[in-house]
């Protein structure tokens, strides 16, 4: 309830700010909130399938990127030898803005779902990899000693200590990544797409249909909030001890 009330208050404040700026600018490029929300409900039949396509892309990319990054990230964090080998690659690859590879991916994978999912997946992969590595490296030695003294194998240590100890940091990283992932999704869908919310927004912009454009922007914002909340829900379900 507290969380919902907080959301409601934030929405009211943002809509009020939006209304104020729109009233001051008086430009068709920034319609009033009422006009935009009316357009949003009117455009729902077109927005829902577009949002569905975007949702599938972003969920597949985030899940894939996370699941592929977790095992190597945790292993690198727990092994000095692996870290010595992997660190130079990470230092070189991590700072590169992955979005520059969009043209390469489009050439290699075509215009369908694959290049968008792979691009977002690569971004999530590197951020999860680095977070998991750092979290695994910083596990309290007492927890590790506790299970090792019981004769735990490497797999048992990973299961009983390494994975649960690093989950909170991984979830924090994922929630922070939602914004980046949606920004890349927008870019990928708007540059090379025939479906999805990014494509919908850019199409409306191209036709100077600002009302529809804002309906798309609202839908994309909602998509971000839904994914963020779904992650928060999963976090609360999986990390009950906090």
């Amino acid at each position: 309830m507290k969380r919902l009330a907080g959301y409601a208050l934030a929405v009211v404040a943002l809509v009020a700010l939006w209304w104020l700026v729109a009233s001051l600018l008086q430009t068709p490029a920034l319609p009033s909130p009422l006009t935009a929300f009316n357009a949003f409900f009117a455009e729902l039949p077109a927005l829902v399938p577009a949002a569905g396509v975007s949702l599938v892309r972003i969920v597949a990319a985030m899940l894939g990127g996370m699941l592929l990054a977790l095992p190597p990230g945790l292993a690198i964090g727990r092994s000095k030898r692996l870290d010595t080998i992997a660190a130079p690659f990470l230092y070189l690859l991590y700072p590169i803005p992955k979005v520059v590879f969009l043209p390469v991916l489009l050439v290699l994978l075509g215009l369908g779902n694959a290049p968008k999912i792979v691009l977002i997946g690569v971004v999530v992969f590197f951020q999860t990899l680095v977070t998991a590595r750092d979290a695994a490296r910083n596990i309290d030695a007492q927890y590790l000693m506790s299970v090792r003294s019981l004769g735990a194998s490497r797999m048992q240590t990973a299961r009983h200590v390494v994975v649960p100890a690093t989950l909170p940091e991984v979830f924090t990283a994922l929630r922070i990544n939602v914004g980046t992932a949606i920004a890349i999704l927008f870019l990928a869908e708007s540059i090379a797409g025939t479906s999805g919310l990014g494509y919908y927004i850019v199409q409306a912009w191209g036709m100077i249909d600002y009302h529809a454009m804002f309906a798309g922007i609202i839908a994309m914002a909602l998509l971000g909030v839904i994914i963020y909340e779904a992650l928060a829900l999963a976090e609360r379900a999986l990390i009950r001890w906090r």
């Binding site: 007492q142 927890y143 000693m145 506790s146 299970v147 090792r148 003294s149 019981l150 004769g151 735990a152 048992q156 009983h160 200590v161 649960p164 100890a165 989950l167 990390i239 009950r240 001890w241």
Partner: protein, 250 residues
């Protein structure tokens, strides 16, 4: 059965110039209790990790029942300073962890852990998280883990250091009572002279870093507090500790 023997054991950490501890020699017979006493940084915890099979000495030999220790044993319970409870596991899951790691079926492990918790008066908090418990209760959960696994050797690393004075005496009583009832071999690390004399039939006194063996004192007054014998013995042990400390330059 578990006779723990340290034979001229010395350990040096990687990249360290000097040995962290050693050479140290002692024997703790089956069902006997040893307290390891010394100033901070003298290698008390290192000795315990060697006894747990978590570290391996560069010199000397650690053996249990005649067999050289090369890996952690399933029948050794190692109680860490913060009790080694995993915050993401409930009290019951923590108590059953040793059995689960040993490969026992979950139902059987939980049944035995439940029995151990009940014995220590913790059945009402079996589903609680460790963070919801007091320091004394966490200590009892760690003991329940040892009981559930039928440990024949309990290694406790300053197990009472986080407790206030009153809770500490209760916890000392509990440690003593369980050791008497269960008959396991016990090694307790402490920096309190009184605690060492209450819990240890023998007290191993270590000098300051690098930890070296100053004396191995027999303690006939184990399990008693504030008697003439314990007061006198405490005075002798303090003198040993002071004698081992480096003298300040005038």
């Amino acid at each position: 059965m578990s006779e723990l023997v340290f034979d001229a054991v010395a350990y040096r950490y990687d990249n360290a110039d000097a040995a962290a501890v050693g050479p140290v020699s002692f024997t703790v017979g089956t069902g006997r209790s040893l307290a390891i006493l010394g100033p901070s940084g003298c290698g008390k915890s290192t000795l315990l990790q060697l006894a747990a099979g978590l570290l391996h000495p560069q010199d000397g030999r650690v053996s249990i029942d005649g067999a050289e220790l090369s890996t952690p044993r399933k029948n050794t319970a190692y109680m860490l300073q913060n009790y080694g409870l995993l915050p993401w596991k409930t009290v019951l899951e923590n108590a059953a962890l040793g059995l689960i790691i040993a490969g026992q079926p979950r139902i059987q492990a939980y049944r035995r852990a439940t029995e151990a918790l009940a014995r220590l008066g913790l059945d009402a908090v079996a589903q609680a998280w460790p963070r919801e418990l007091s320091g004394g209760m966490r200590q009892r959960v760690a003991l329940a883990r040892a009981l559930a696994t039928d440990a024949d050797l309990l290694l406790a690393d300053e197990p009472l250091s986080a407790l206030d004075a009153l809770a500490r005496e209760d916890a000392q009583d509990l440690l003593l009572q369980l050791w008497c009832e269960e008959g396991y071999t016990q090694v307790v690390v402490t920096h309190s002279v009184e605690e060492a004399l209450f819990l240890g039939q023998r007290v191993l006194v270590l000098g300051p870093a690098p930890g070296r063996q100053v004396a191995l004192v027999d303690n006939p007054a184990v399990g008693t507090r504030d008697t003439t014998a314990t007061v006198e013995l405490a005075r002798d042990v303090r003198a040993l500790l002071k004698g081992a400390a480096p003298e300040c330059a005038a």
